[in-house]
């Protein structure tokens, strides 16, 4: 018997290792079994391994994401920076174009207010505001475009000046702040007459020939009277400021702040034809005059 057992001991061992677990399984399969202390101890042994792997993998991922994956970041950043700069330039250009559209729309609106007048639009291509010489703006329109000497130059805000010299394709505009410029105006509120004369600096004019007895206060708006034969009636010129009325003398003195900031102009309108009233035209040109 023992010899038999000894002879087949390995086979018996394997059979036992097969049958016992199967019996244990069928015995415990239908009821949940609790883990023994040995089970828990063995499982506890696996914890450091799992943690180590987790630490290694997460560390590797961190290294990858933090360093290796960023190896092209500089090139990407440079490319994006270039793109941002291009977009900034494009945006600036669009903003500039939008401002230009706004200005042109305003000019167009102004031109449409008086259908009898004819205008030629022009861009400022040169500025000469040196105090020693004339205060001139150069525009890109000339005789070829119908521009002539003494034509009024305006924008929606008011009077800019008049054409002083003209060539085929450009013209010089003597602005209202030049010392040689004198524009016949009236106070909009009281219709009191006076001339606005330039002082040689772009931000101020003075009031000439304003009679001391005339009703005039600081802040009064001055518009063209049309009596000088150069400017149409009713164009804004400026506002009265620093008004001084003396006890003696014929005239009162004042400064005028121009309606138009000539230093910021980009486009202007040259008035090529406008409604001239009979009272201001020389007799030779008055309607009904026969030569």
């Amino acid at each position: 018997m023992f010899a038999l057992l000894r002879r087949y001991r390995e086979l018996i061992l394997v059979a036992v290792l097969l049958v016992v677990p199967l019996g244990v399984y069928f015995a415990h399969a239908r009821k949940p079994s609790e883990r023994s202390k040995l089970d828990r101890a063995i499982l506890w042994l696996t914890t450091p391994v799992e943690r180590s792997v987790g630490w290694a993998v997460s560390g590797g991922l961190r290294s990858w994401n933090g360093y290796l994956a960023l190896r092209h970041a500089r090139e990407t950043a440079t490319e994006l920076l270039r793109e941002v700069n291009l977009l900034k330039m494009e945006r600036q250009q669009l903003l500039s174009e939008r401002a230009e559209v706004e200005r042109l729309r305003k000019l167009l609106g102004f031109a449409q207010e008086s259908p009898a007048r004819k205008y030629v639009g022009a861009r400022i291509v040169g500025v000469r505001l040196a105090p020693a010489g004339l205060q001139l703006l150069t525009i890109d329109r000339g005789t070829e475009d119908g521009v002539e000497r003494m034509m009024p130059v305006v924008v929606a805000e008011g009077v800019v000046g008049r054409v002083h010299g003209v060539s085929a394709h450009t013209a010089d505009v003597l602005i209202l702040t030049d010392r040689n410029s004198s524009i016949a105006t009236v106070v909009e509120r009281t219709r009191a007459r006076a001339n606005v004369r330039g002082m040689g600096k772009p931000d101020a004019c003075k009031l000439d020939y304003a009679l001391r007895v005339e009703d005039m206060i600081e802040g009064d708006a001055l518009v063209t009277s049309g009596t000088d034969g150069v400017f149409p009636r009713g164009l804004p010129v400026g506002k009265v400021t620093k008004l001084e009325r003396f006890q003696h003398g014929l005239f009162q003195e004042a400064r005028v702040v121009p309606s138009v900031d000539v230093t910021r102009l980009e486009e202007v309108l040259v008035v090529t034809a406008w409604e001239r009233t009979a009272e201001i035209l020389p007799a030779a040109y008055a309607p009904g005059h026969e030569q």
């Binding site: 390995e10 086979l11 061992l13 394997v14 290792l17 097969l18 016992v20 677990p21 199967l22 019996g23 244990v24 399984y25 069928f26 015995a27 415990h28 399969a29 239908r30 079994s33 883990r35 089970d39 063995i42 499982l43 042994l45 696996t46 914890t47 391994v49 799992e50 180590s52 792997v53 987790g54 993998v57 997460s58």
Partner: protein
């Protein structure tokens, strides 16, 4: 000692497997690396230390899979016997053969567990045939990964291999 070493190796392997699967795929698929250990024992182990080692690995499987006690132990010993039978019929020496057997072993364990669990579970909680594709995928992945384990298992084996110095000199 040799079966114990294999069981410890299996324990470390089970921990590695669960940790790696947590990061790779997040549980979308699984592998049965311990089945490859059992197949290795069936091919290269002795009857006694191999079967004991397989039972030990089965116990570890029982623990890590949370299956009822004895199920995986029985299946591990069964796989050991099957591997041994295959080895008796076909001399499996290449790593490809080892990989093929490991994949088959993983499938045997999965299908065996499925059948036995169906036998003992209530019908409403019994595992269904729908798990078979997942088991096939597990077997394929196990077959793919098994050759990587081969050097480690050989190293564990060599720890207990006695060289008789001077015989060839």
């Amino acid at each position: 000692m040799k079966p114990l070493a294999h069981v410890l190796f299996a324990l470390v392997l089970a921990a590695l497997q669960s940790a790696i699967l947590r990061w790779v795929g997040g549980g979308a698929f699984s592998v049965a690396l311990l089945a490859a250990c059992i197949v290795y024992l069936g091919l290269h182990g002795g009857n006694v230390d191999g079967s004991v080692g397989a039972a030990g690995i089965g116990y570890v499987l029982d623990l890590v899979t949370g299956s009822p006690k004895g199920l995986m132990t029985f299946l591990a010993v069964l796989l050991f016997v099957l591997a041994r039978a295959v080895n008796a019929a076909v001399d499996v020496r290449s790593r490809g053969g080892f990989a093929l057997l490991s994949g088959g072993g993983a499938l045997v364990i999965s299908l065996g567990a499925l059948v036995l669990t169906r036998l003992t579970s209530a019908p409403e909680s019994a595992p269904g045939i729908g798990l078979v594709p997942r088991m096939l995928l597990e077997a394929i992945l196990t077959a793919a990964a098994a050759p990587l384990l081969y050097p480690g298992l050989r190293r564990v084996d060599r720890l207990f291999h006695r060289e008789e110095h001077g015989l060839l000199r």
